[in-house]
């Protein structure tokens, strides 16, 4: 019963919200060896980090939790740079992975995002509706990564349980 898909709630990630002028943002993240993604709603991945271009003058950096202290130091989010603002938001999100051969079915139920490759390529990363709330969706080789506001995580888990099985 249910779909051939594995849904897993992730532990902490290190997450930083970056807003401002593109050249200033590029300068701030350069020490990490990262550059800004070229296409809107795409992500640049490096060493487990994903830098997502998710809005006009707006990026989100997702990185493994063990990098958090290093990133807090190197990005200096409390530094009030004139043309760029970085806010530490690791705790504001909960992440889920959706993998397996029917991951697309799960996503088609969860979200109105048009995931055809021409609209959402292999490095796609975009905010969309996710079970009625705002959620960030990244494509991965084996499926998807979804990030939602933490306070909704229990609700999203309940939705996932429901749609991936026969339970009501």
């Amino acid at each position: 019963m249910g779909y051939q898909a594995t849904i897993e709630k992730q532990g902490m990630w290190a997450i930083f919200d970056i807003k401002g002028d593109a050249s200033a943002a590029a300068k701030r993240i350069a020490p990490l060896g990262l550059s800004l993604p070229a296409g809107t709603n795409t992500a640049k991945a490096k060493g487990g980090q994903h830098l997502c271009w998710i809005g006009e003058d707006h990026w989100l950096l997702l990185a493994p939790a063990e990098m958090e202290n290093e990133l807090l130091e190197r990005l200096d989010p409390h530094h009030s740079s004139i043309d760029c603002r970085i806010v530490h938001v690791s705790d504001a999100y909960t992440l889920f992975t959706v993998t397996g051969q029917q991951a697309d079915d799960i996503l088609a139920i969860a979200s109105p995002l048009d995931t055809r490759r021409k609209n959402f390529p292999n490095d796609g990363a975009a905010y969309t509706e996710f079970f009625g709330i705002r959620g960030l969706v990244l494509r991965r080789p084996d499926g998807y990564l979804a990030a939602v506001e933490r306070s909704y995580a229990d609700m999203i888990s309940a939705y996932f349980d429901k749609i991936s099985t026969g339970s009501r």
């Binding site: 004139i82 705790d91 139920i109 026969g166």
Partner: protein
């Protein structure tokens, strides 16, 4: 051998090796896998299957699909549902069904007495009769008499509804020849294609005909097309699925009734395509003559379907009544089936003749080879029979009447292109004189109609037209169609029709139905028009024609034709009523999908939610979908006792509450200070770093949007807190201003509500508890004053502590990252235990803020109040005329009209609480109110019930007595200042 007396021995596409027992109206019958409920009933000789809606006349099956106007059933059991057409219910083991509209049974129906009173139940009867005192008094008994089905209660075990999205290049609706061809061409071009067919198996009308394509039976061509489509991974083929709604931007709403996945009961698709191809075919319409609703009278196309699909011939002696050429195919098909041989249990089905309203010289090749009587230029004036058709009165051109016996009459009044979806898409319709029906005219979305849906009634030319249409429209989207061999269909007689909106020679009072399901007769149309309801929309509403579950699929064009004839206009001038979704009835579940049970509404949790539950808190939503503890029940006490205990802890000891849901925004950028000044009505310019200030923001029309405290973290860097319930609205307001009106400004707004959790420790012993937790922050009042904010370490965790107070007591908001929140909370409860700390729920927070007269949005602030009304004129800066909402407040107040002002109230109730929202009226009279009670609580410090309210000219009435009306009860209350505790605020600054 199953006793199916009206089933031919061979033929049909049912699986004769799989008999299925089912129950109908309490009796057990047998049909076969592949049957519908309707075909199985007909095969069993069950012809009287329903009673009509208004007159409770005997009715049987008339159609074979979604057009069925007559035989509605209610399904019983776990997958129960009401008002299904029996023609669309697939037979399955353990199916149980019963007729609607009849009690106790269709054979013995008590309400059929309505027929005797028919002349008292004309069109508009309900409007005229049940107007006084109001309709709702009568509705329940009328509903029972009408007998429409009841809503199901049970849930389907182990299955659920699902909804999902689909995007593609081409979406084809209809699995008939033109739909299949369109899907085939589209799929070969490399497009992503969906084809939706409402039948369980593809083929459309080809399944009910002897047509050949490429010199082979047409169904062989269908099988080859399906094989190719199914092999293409870019093609999604849905069978037994209805596209029932055509929304904006080429979005189709589809309900799939038998998904392949066993855990899905029904699936709702929201499918959006670059272009839509409507190959929805055409629906046969009825003919209007006396008693045209008797069981035994069926649509000719339905009889063909029963013959070809189900091997059922529902009569022994058949007549045809037509005004067009298409019904002749049925005669050819029936004869070809060698009736004598296939109906051995009876004398066989004899075709007694064809009654054709067209003159002899208008009848063309369709009659070639037929050796049965054809009554050209004849009409049926009446059908006769009690519960089944027995005899027809046939009228010749000269008016002479002849009686003919038969038990099956196949009627065809011509074909209506199924323009429902086209019209839902806001496409316009045109009247086609040759078809005597409406055809698609100008589309407003990217769609094309092909085949009979486009009014193309000849298969060969319809197929050719489909190819050119699809090639052109896909070409516009850059798809190339590879070389393609046209399927060649056998030549067929041209479709030809003479409109016949009703037969001649009927008398007033004859029951000749234009809308079978709603029991609307030709007389009713005439009555409506005589009473002045002479447009089609008025006729519909006055007579209810077209309002049934079938939405008048077989009858609407006859209604229009008859209005046109009565008013000497063309049907094209009359026009149609609006085609609305759904095309066929839809289960709500297929729209709601997985949103049921616990996920009907969104909900939010904090890291403390589980602790609250473990400690017995009564949880409910308290704004913005946050589940919060209302109160913590105490042993041997009721809810009020629990609230009093919590409130006393805060007033006299120490309490703690989870303040995490409070909205929080990080605001920075070169112009952040100017932005804050624009938002709030009061000045923030002189705010020092590390300090916070209470502010009120207004909407442009001068109403209070939100209140909250904003801290200055650094130059041009602020942390704004908002009320829980309005955080999203405030964000929208700020984001709009920053992007649209202040687009040149540098302001960055980042929601950080979920990046920070807080435990707010409040009460006279709060400082002692924080100190006991251990902190790096200098907690002395002079070092850490009221409204200040400090970063440091608390209980070995990084924390940001704010001194604000929503309770009136000294309070410390301990903000930590959510990863630390539960640990911090547990430490506070543990370290605070010796101080008698208590967790406090939202009920107690409400009590504490009412005692202090602090505002609550949604209580005192209800989108009519401005700050002056609330006694907060001081918050309206004298210099900031440009602050949002300021201008509107000034304009409104310049009228000098009396305003409702915030006051305190002490009701004389001996402690009983007054319901919130209770009106205050002048002298307690039953007249327009002069205010209302916005909140009422038991005050632990005052030991009495206290209230806040908004009262006209309230501040001038302090000390006076007013009267609250709680329905018929009058409650006196003394007006006071809106603060009942520590009016100078010494305690919260302490």
């Amino acid at each position: 051998m199953t006793h199916n007396p009206f089933r031919s021995e061979t033929g049909g596409r049912i699986d004769r090796n799989s008999p299925i027992e089912f129950e109908f109206n309490g009796r057990i019958y047998t049909g076969y896998q592949g049957d519908t409920l309707a075909s199985a009933l007909l095969a069993n000789g069950v012809f009287l299957t329903a009673r009509s809606f208004k007159y409770h006349r005997p009715r049987g099956v008339m159609g074979a699909g979604v057009e069925e106007p007559s035989c509605l059933v209610e399904l019983l059991g776990a997958d129960a549902g009401g008002n299904h057409a029996a023609t669309t219910v697939r037979l399955r083991p353990s199916l149980r069904a019963k007729s609607v509209n009849c009690w106790p049974s269709p054979n013995f129906d008590l309400m059929s007495i309505n027929q005797l009173f028919a002349r008292f139940l004309p069109a508009g009867f309900y409007y005229k009769t049940f107007m006084w005192p109001n309709w709702h008094l009568f509705e329940p008994s009328i509903r029972q008499a009408a007998g429409l089905a009841t809503a199901p209660n049970d849930q389907i075990p182990d299955q659920h509804f699902e909804t999902r999205y689909w995007y593609g290049d081409a979406l084809v609706v209809g699995g008939g020849p033109c739909g299949l061809l369109a899907a085939l061409i589209a799929s070969r071009s490399g497009a992503r294609v969906m084809i939706v067919d409402d039948q369980p198996h593809p083929g459309g009308y080809l399944r009910a005909s002897q047509t050949e394509i490429d010199s082979k039976p047409a169904m062989e061509w269908v099988a080859a097309v399906i094989a190719e489509l199914d092999a293409n991974p870019e093609v999604t083929r849905l069978q037994d699925a209805t596209a029932w709604g055509y929304r904006e931007s080429n979005l189709l709403m589809i309900t799939e009734r038998s998904p392949a996945e066993s855990h899905v009961f029904q699936r709702g698709w929201k499918a959006r395509a670059g272009q839509v191809i409507l190959a929805t075919g055409a629906i046969e319409r009825n003919l209007v003559f006396k008693n045209n609703d008797l069981p035994g009278i069926m649509l000719a196309s339905a009889v063909q379907t029963y013959l070809h699909e189900f091997g059922v011939i529902p009569g022994r002696r058949a007549m045809i009544f037509t005004n067009n050429s298409s019904a002749y195919a049925l005669v050819h098909d029936l004869l070809a089936h060698d009736l004598q041989a296939r109906n051995p249990q009876a004398a066989g089905t004899v075709i007694a003749g064809i009654i054709d309203s067209r003159p002899a010289d208008a009848i063309g090749a369709e009659k070639d080879g037929l050796e049965i009587p054809i009554y050209a230029a004849h009409q049926i004036t009446a059908a006769h029979g009690g519960k089944h058709l027995r005899t027809l009165s046939i009228r010749a051109e000269d008016g002479s009447i002849k009686l003919v016996d038969c038990d099956l009459l196949a009627v065809s009044g011509g074909w209506n292109p199924a323009v429902h979806l086209f019209s839902q898409a806001r496409g316009t319709l045109a009247y086609d004189d040759e078809l005597a029906s409406f055809v698609p005219d100008k589309p407003t979305q990217r769609l094309a109609c092909v085949g009979a849906a486009a009014g193309k009634m000849n298969l060969a030319s319809a197929l050719a037209d489909t190819v050119s249409t699809i090639t052109a429209s896909l070409g516009e989207d850059g798809f190339e169609i590879p070389a393609f061999t046209m399927p060649i269909s056998a030549a067929s007689p041209d479709y030809h029709l003479h409109p016949l909106w009703h037969v001649d020679g009927m008398k007033p009072g004859d029951k000749a139905f234009v809308d079978i399901q709603n029991d609307v007769t030709l007389d009713d149309i005439g009555l409506a028009m005589r009473e002045g309801f002479d447009t089609v929309e008025h006729v519909k509403r006055y007579t209810t024609a077209g309002m049934g579950i079938d939405q008048g699929k077989t009858g609407n064009v006859n209604v229009i034709g008859n209005i046109a004839e009565a008013s000497a206009k063309s049907p094209g001038d009359i026009g149609t009523t609006t085609f609305r979704s759904p095309f066929t009835p839809v289960d709500f579940g297929s729209i709601a999908g997985h949103r049921n049970g616990a996920t009907v509404l969104p909900f939010r949790h904090t890291p403390i939610t589980q602790w609250n539950r473990d400690h017995g808190a009564v949880m409910y939503e308290a704004g913005a979908r946050w589940q919060r503890p209302g109160y913590f029940p105490i042993e041997g006490g009721d809810m009020q006792d629990a609230i009093n205990t919590e409130a006393e802890a805060v007033r006299y000891g120490v309490g703690v509450y989870d303040g995490s849901p409070l909205g929080k925004f990080d605001i920075s950028g070169r112009d952040a200070a100017a932005f804050i000044d624009l938002l709030y009505t009061n000045d923030f310019g002189d705010l020092e770093i590390g300090m916070g200030r209470y502010g009120i923001m207004l909407t442009d029309d001068g109403m209070i949007l939100d209140d909250g405290v904003t801290f200055k973290l650094a130059e041009n860097h602020y942390l704004m807190s908002t009320s829980t319930g309005f955080a999203d609205l405030v964000y929208r307001h700020m984001d709009y201003l920053s992007q649209v009106e202040c687009s040149g400004w540098q302001v960055w707004i980042t929601p950080v509500t979920s990046q920070w959790c807080n435990a707010t420790i409040c009460g006279p012993k709060a400082r002692d508890v924080v100190a006991a937790l251990g902190t790096s922050i200098d907690m002395r009042n002079e070092a850490f004053p009221f409204m200040a904010m400090r970063d440091g370490i608390v209980a070995d965790m990084p924390a940001r502590v704010c001194r604000v107070s929503f309770t009136g007591e000294v309070s410390f908001e301990i903000n930590v990252w959510p990863r630390h929140a539960e640990a911090m909370w547990r430490r506070i409860m543990e370290i605070g235990a010796p101080f008698g700390i208590m967790p406090v729920g939202s009920e107690t927070s409400h009590v504490l803020r009412v005692e202090k007269g602090f505002l609550s949005l949604g209580h005192e602030v209800d989108a009519t109040a401005d700050p002056y009304d609330l006694g907060m004129g001081w918050i309206m800066s004298r210099t900031k005329m440009h602050a949002i909402g300021r201008r509107s407040v000034d304009i409104r107040r310049s009228s000098g009209k009396p305003r409702r002002e915030l006051v305190g109230l002490i009701p004389e109730t001996n402690g009983e609480l007054v319901p919130e929202g209770a009106p205050i009226t002048p002298n307690g009279e039953r007249v327009a109110s002069e205010g209302f009670v916005s909140a009422c609580v038991w005050s632990v410090v005052n030991k009495q019930a206290i209230a806040l309210g908004l009262l006209t000219n309230g501040r001038a009435r302090i000390g006076k007595t007013i009267i609250i009306r709680d329905r018929e009860r009058m409650i006196k209350a003394v007006v006071t200042k809106p603060c009942f505790h520590d009016p100078k605020g010494a305690r919260l600054r302490g």
